[in-house]
Structure formats: structure tokens, C-alpha cells
Subunit: 233 residues, 2 copies
């Protein structure tokens, strides 16, 4: 648990705030994150802000460029495919691990969460997205595997990022009923059913989003040209 809700942990506070801002799309890909402003905003010095940015960068949410202002990452279409792909496998794994093994209180918590999703459905889009993401993280945490929680959280956050890039504005209709179906399969202990439900759930989310490189749907020249630059070796 690298980040307990310890009020003394300034770095953690900043990271959580930024992650949340990103997940709710208040911070879009490419948004600038100057150390000064961050420090000022959170009442700490640049040192701390810088450190927080480092952590976020290690999670793949922020891009650190030498001598340049840090920015929220702008995943390439290739990145997006990659991340969704791994996510698929990890979440199937999670579902397999917990199918039929949840306590009734855990089931209750899941259902309560989905209920919250439903309530938020008509509210601001950002909240819906966050809740939907948190549902998956909640599932992960029920495996009691810290590693899985970390990886799925990371990937889920990054998916939000790509959604805000590639999907059309609506798209928030993120399958609440699918979440419910998954919970039921989990409760029944039908691992295969749960896995296939999870699979199609994620698949539909991905397809809603990653419709294709969608020729010129990048933000600007820089992104449009990205596929044509060569630097990989």
C-alpha cells in the first residue's frame, strides 16, 4: 500500500488529486503541469510537486520531458490498443480469481457501488466515468492481490485517458447493466460466464472508443504527424 490516506503524505495527496482530475477529464491529455503552479495550488514547494509528478510518470499518466513542462500523457492509438488488450486479460484473470469466492458483504458493496453509478447516471459525465472505473478497481481489490490492484488501477486510469482522446463526446453510457450482470455471475460462482461477460463488457467499451485510428481525429498537427515520425529502435 504505497499510499495510505495519511494526511501527512503531501505527495500522496497531490497524486490522488491529479489522478482524479485526470480520470474525470478535468485534465485532458496534453494539459500542462508546471511544478510551480502545482506547488502553489497544494501549498508545497516545487520539490514535492516534482516528486509527485515523478510518481505519476512512473504510472504512465504523466510525461516528463527534460527541461520542459510536464504534461498529461497523450496516448498514441497504438498505446491505446496495447493497454486495452492487457486490460482485457488482467480483468478476466481477476474475475476468474474471485468468481464464487466473494462474501455477501463484498457482493453488497459491489451492488451499492453500481447503485451509486445509476444515481450518478444523469449527473455530470465526469462522475459517471469515475464511478465506472472505480467499479473495476473495486473488483481488483477483492482478489487480495496488491499487485493486481496496482496494475489494474494504473491501466484503468490510462484507459480513461484514451477514452477522452478517441471517443466521441457521449459514450458515457458505460454499461451499468453489464456491471450488474457481472456481479450476478460472480455471485453464482460461474467463472466462465463472468469472464465472458467481462470480456464483452470491456470489448464494447473499447469498441465504442477505439473505432480506428480515425484518420484525422488527433488534437492537432503534432498528434496527426505522430504516426509518421520515427524514433523507435
Amino acid at each position: 500500500m504505497p499510499e495510505a490516506p495519511n494526511s501527512k503524505d503531501k505527495v500522496g495527496v497531490i497524486c490522488r488529486a491529479l489522478r482524479r482530475a485526470i480520470i474525470e477529464q478535468a485534465l485532458e491529455p496534453g494539459a500542462k503541469l508546471p511544478e510551480d503552479s502545482l506547488g502553489e495550488r497544494f501549498g508545497v514547494s516545487r520539490t514535492i510537486a516534482r516528486y509527485a509528478l515523478g510518481q505519476l510518470a512512473s504510472e504512465g499518466l504523466v510525461e516528463l520531458r527534460r527541461n520542459r513542462i510536464a504534461v498529461v500523457v497523450t496516448p498514441s492509438w497504438q498505446d491505446a490498443r496495447d493497454i486495452f488488450d492487457i486490460r482485457m486479460d488482467l480483468e478476466r484473470l481477476i474475475v476468474r480469481k474471485i468468481a464464487g469466492k466473494l462474501s455477501s458483504s463484498q457482493i453488497a458493496r459491489l451492488k451499492a457501488h453500481v447503485e451509486a453509478e445509476r444515481e450518478a447516471h444523469d449527473g455530470p459525465n465526469a462522475v459517471s466515468i469515475r464511478l465506472a472505473t472505480e467499479f473495476h478497481i473495486m473488483l481488483a481489490s477483492m482478489t487480495n492481490s496488491p499487485v493486481l490492484v496496482r496494475y489494474v488501477s494504473e491501466i484503468a486510469y490510462r484507459c480513461c485517458l484514451t477514452l477522452s482522446l478517441f471517443s466521441r463526446p457521449h459514450s458515457s453510457e458505460c454499461g451499468i447493466s453489464e456491471h450488474i450482470a457481472i456481479i450476478e455471475a460472480l455471485q453464482e460462482g460461474d467463472a466462465n460466464k463472468a469472464m465472458s461477460l467481462m470480456h464483452s463488457h470491456l470489448d464494447s467499451v473499447a469498441n465504442r472508443a477505439l473505432v480506428e485510428p480515425t484518420p484525422a481525429r488527433g488534437r492537432d498537427l503534432l498528434d496527426v504527424l505522430a504516426p509518421y515520425t520515427e524514433e523507435a529502435t
Copy 2:
């Protein structure tokens, strides 16, 4: 790619050095990592050393304790099980992804690496361990999935850590022939065979190591007592 071999990147240099020291078991679990000493050793200020420790902590290799000297993590037996478990799935995934899709030059690189492993077999144990680990990372990198590479690297490093904790001193005989068999299955394009080979390979490594909580094989009182403390919820 959060760490190009950029000579300007002091933090990266320190991280790599430390990772390598850990993987070669020059730094055992519990080893202290004071910021001053690190800084002095690498010719940088505490600021940088601290930053590097932060990165390592986010990878789960180092434990940061507030107001205390950072130490190399000492995985609990439970952690070890967890990590090996996930590793199993991730590496099976990798093997599935690349089976039959490797270019001949990639195969050649793999074979060359195993050859290096063989040559190092009679040398220092530490080198053997490192090479064996790097083989798995090499495999991961052939998926062209940065995320997978990151996760597998992280997990592989952590496995080394648990090995140095729980396995008896010898145990370096880390199945070079198994690596070869895997390469062959990969080359043939037989995904299932490759997956099952990988499975049994990792299983034998794990079993060689995680023989059981192995009553009193901890480093000192603190570790010996660990299984008897209760803090899990």
C-alpha cells in the same frame, strides 16, 4: 519508455544500479539505503537519491518508511505467493502472444542469450540469476507491449528478491534447458505447448523456492515473528 539509457539521467542511473544490485543479491532484503550514502556514492545530492528511491518504491523494490532509512523490501511469504501467481499468468500471456510470431533474428537473440546463460553457469551465482531473469524480460519485450514489459520486469525483479529470502543457497540451477525448450515451442508456433512449458518452468522455480513458510528461515526476529502477527483484515 520511462528510462532511456540517457547519460544525463542521473535518477535512471541510480535506479538501474540499485535494481541490478538487488537482482544480483548484492543488496539483500532489509538492506539499508540512506539517501546520503547513495548520493555520495553516485556523486549527486540527496535530492536525486531520494527521487530515485521514490521510483524504486513505486516498483515495489524499496520500502520507504517515514523519517526512517529506506530499505530493500522484505516480501512476506504471502506477497511472494501473490507475485509468483500473477507472474504465472502474465508470462503465459506473453508466450501466447508471441508464439509463432518471432522473426528469425529474434529467435537468434534468444538463443544467444541462453548461450550466455550456459557460459555463466559455472561463474558467480549472481550473474546466473540475473541472466535468467533477463531472459524472461527479453521475452516480454518481444510482445511490443510496453506495459507488459514494465509489469513483467517489475515482477521478475521482485521474484529475485523473494528467492534470496526463501530459497536455499544453491537453487541457481535455473533450468537453462527449460528456456531452450520454450524457445523451440515458440519457434514452432505451438502456443499451447509453449504456455505449458512456461507454466512448468515457473512452477519448478517457485517450488524450488517457496517450499512453505519454511518455519524459521527468516533473517531475524522480526521476520520470524511476522507470520504470527495479525494485521490483515
